[in-house]
């Protein structure tokens, strides 16, 4: 009985390991996209550093964010503007702050807000249910 259990456990464990392994190979490519994203966002911050509000720029191509989910960390009480350019028409919704605005196909919208609530907040294409950005507000 014990032996059977050991075999079962070992099999399950190895399946789990293989599973994690394949995740890792996936995430290798994930990591590269993340780095690209961070570089673009850093560029954004440096170019807009002169202006007061932090701009979070997202370009939506084919219904998903170019270069992966855009991540930006801001401090509490910062002025932030979420700028979304999209090739499809949808509603852009920022959760928590509950800001929403319609974007036309090929159009650009700006969602300005003051980061008064700490936490992590997702922006999404409302009708498609696709996450495009994550804004972290540090306390």
């Amino acid at each position: 009985m014990n032996k059977i259990l050991l075999v079962v456990a070992a099999t399950v464990a190895s399946i789990a390991l293989v599973g994690c392994g394949s995740n890792d190979s996936e995430s290798a490519s994930t990591d590269t996209t993340t780095t690209e994203t961070t570089t673009t966002t850093t560029d954004t911050t440096t170019t807009t550093a002169a202006k007061k509000p932090t701009e979070v720029k997202v370009v939506v191509v084919n219904g998903s964010p170019q270069g992966g989910i855009v991540r930006q960390t801001v401090n509490k009480d910062d002025q932030v503007v979420l700028v979304v350019t999209s090739d499809i028409a949808d509603e852009i919704h920022l959760h928590g702050y509950d800001k929403a605005r319609d974007v036309a196909a090929g159009g650009t919208i700006r969602l300005p807000f003051k980061a008064t609530i700490p936490g992590r907040f997702e922006a999404e294409l409302e009708s498609r249910g696709v996450q495009i950005a994550e804004i972290t507000v540090e306390p």
Binding site: V8, A9, A16, C20, T33, G63, P118, E122
Partner: protein, 453 residues
């Protein structure tokens, strides 16, 4: 509306700072060795599990038929409202009563009440109340309500584990689990499962083996300082209800679904998993909406199953090692299942505290306008939830505290059981090391998930 990791929600926690992770893991490690070498050498929990009987009138009141009927009616009413709003209310999930009620008030509230006050679900379950009413009506007409088929103990808790898995799969794997019409179908299906099961196998048998929520809330209620025993209420030390072994078949799988699903919920919030699903969507950009959602759900399901399998595998390895080190010839699988229950409770607190506190406030508004039609039944439709009610620091302390308390409780229960199991063996100290290692692994993994956010 997109799912926010756990069914519904608007704010997510900031990742817990790494220092909490190191402090928590080392704390549990130290406590485990103290328990191993310094503390009790004979079982303590079981003798305290009996507790002290509370005054007779208290038990008669709490367990009375009147309380049962009032709470039963109330819960059937709420159940009806949930089904009606899910079916006919607005499809904007945050403006509809059903999603917040199901994923926050019910799914987080009942475990909380169970841990504090005992098995409240036995009087709050709408399905149980409906079944009781049907039996009462049948008996009123002089007919006897008997199960159609005999329940077999071989099935144990496997049907309940399957039921719970379906719910967590809906909550964590499905895209848009908070869409009201989806919830309507799910509620109807689950009600059919609960009621048909009780009709076929009897109310008690199905409550113990088939109704997933009933099994889960009963397990959690063993943490509570209150319990009903032979028509009386007893007061006991918290966690003592988890002493002893758990010989019902499928109990391990059930607890693994509880633990695995909550930890997958944590993992699915990490950047790694978010980007993975985002990439799946980008790859399939040309495909239809339905195909993309199915693919994302498939990826999530694989993740969920892997987490449950990982819990099972690590537990089985630890048990096998303990059997070998202790020279025990029988299977020890049933002996260390219950120490996992406080850990499951701790994971729930750590992952869902913010959701409960923030999203829970919305029920005040939703109660006045459950269908999202602009009603104001109780004058609370304009109540503005405070999204900054708890500071990130408070959240971290709660998460950290819950995980450490849960794991220390789990360790103590496991140690108490080990004292019984390995009493006559020469290597009783060594034989406990695998289970302690398992507990430390679960704590570190839990804290790691919170620190990765």
């Amino acid at each position: 509306m997109r799912l926010l990791a756990h069914g519904i929600g608007v704010v997510r926690d900031l990742p817990i700072p790494a220092v909490y992770f190191y402090v928590g893991a080392s704390l549990v490690l130290v406590v485990s060795f103290v328990l191993l070498f310094a503390l009790w050498r004979r079982p303590l929990l079981e003798e305290h599990a009996t507790g002290r009987a509370l005054p007779g009138w208290f038990g008669r009141l709490v367990l009375s038929g009147a309380v049962r009927i009032v709470l039963g009616l109330f819960s059937v009413l709420l159940f009806g409202l949930t089904l009606a709003t899910a079916l006919f209310g607005t499809t904007t999930s945050l403006l509809n009563f059903a999603p917040t009620f199901v994923y926050v008030i019910f799914w987080l509230g009942i475990p909380f009440l169970s841990v504090l006050f005992g098995n409240v679900w036995s009087v709050l379950s709408p399905w149980r109340a409906i079944a009781d009413a049907i039996v009462w009506l049948l008996e009123l007409r002089g007919r006897e309500a008997r199960p159609v088929l005999e329940w077999s103990d071989r099935w144990g808790r496997y049907p309940a584990a399957a039921a719970l898995f379906s719910f967590v799969a809906l909550e964590l794997a499905k895209v848009s689990p908070d869409y009201p019409r989806t919830l309507a179908i799910a509620t109807a299906l689950y009600s059919y499962w609960a009621l048909a099961g009780m009709a076929v196998y009897g109310r008690d048998a199905w409550t113990r083996g088939g109704e997933g929520f009933a099994v889960m809330f009963e397990l959690l209620s063993r943490i509570a300082p209150f319990a009903a025993r032979e028509g009386r209420m007893v007061l006991r030390w918290p966690f003592t209800g988890l002493a002893g072994d758990e010989r019902t078949r499928g109990a391990l799988l059930f607890v693994a679904v509880m633990l695995g699903s909550t930890s997958f919920d944590g993992f699915s919030r990490t950047i790694r998993w978010q980007d993975l699903t985002s990439q799946v969507r980008a790859h399939l950009a040309a495909s239809s909406h339905r195909t993309v959602d199915l693919a994302v759900m498939g990826v999530n399901l694989v993740g969920l199953v892997l987490f449950i399998a990982a819990i099972l595998a690590t537990y089985l390895v630890a048990v096998a090692a303990a059997e070998k080190l202790g020279g025990i010839r029988r299977s020890l699988i049933p002996d260390f299942v219950l120490p996992l229950v406080p850990i499951a409770a701790a994971y729930m607190v750590a992952h869902y505290f913010t959701l409960a506190v923030i999203q829970g406030q919305f029920i005040v508004t939703l109660a006045s306008d459950p269908f999202g039609r602009g009603w104001d039944l109780f004058g609370t439709a304009d109540f503005a939830p405070n999204l900054a009610l708890v500071s990130p620091q408070t959240v971290w302390y709660v998460q950290f505290g819950a995980l450490v308390v849960g794991h220390v409780a789990g360790l103590a229960i496991a140690h108490d059981r080990a004292v019984v199991v390995f009493r006559d063996t020469r290597r009783s100290v060594e034989a406990q090391i695998p289970m302690l290692a398992l507990m430390v692994l679960y704590t570190s993994a839990g804290l790691w998930l919170l620190s990765r956010g």
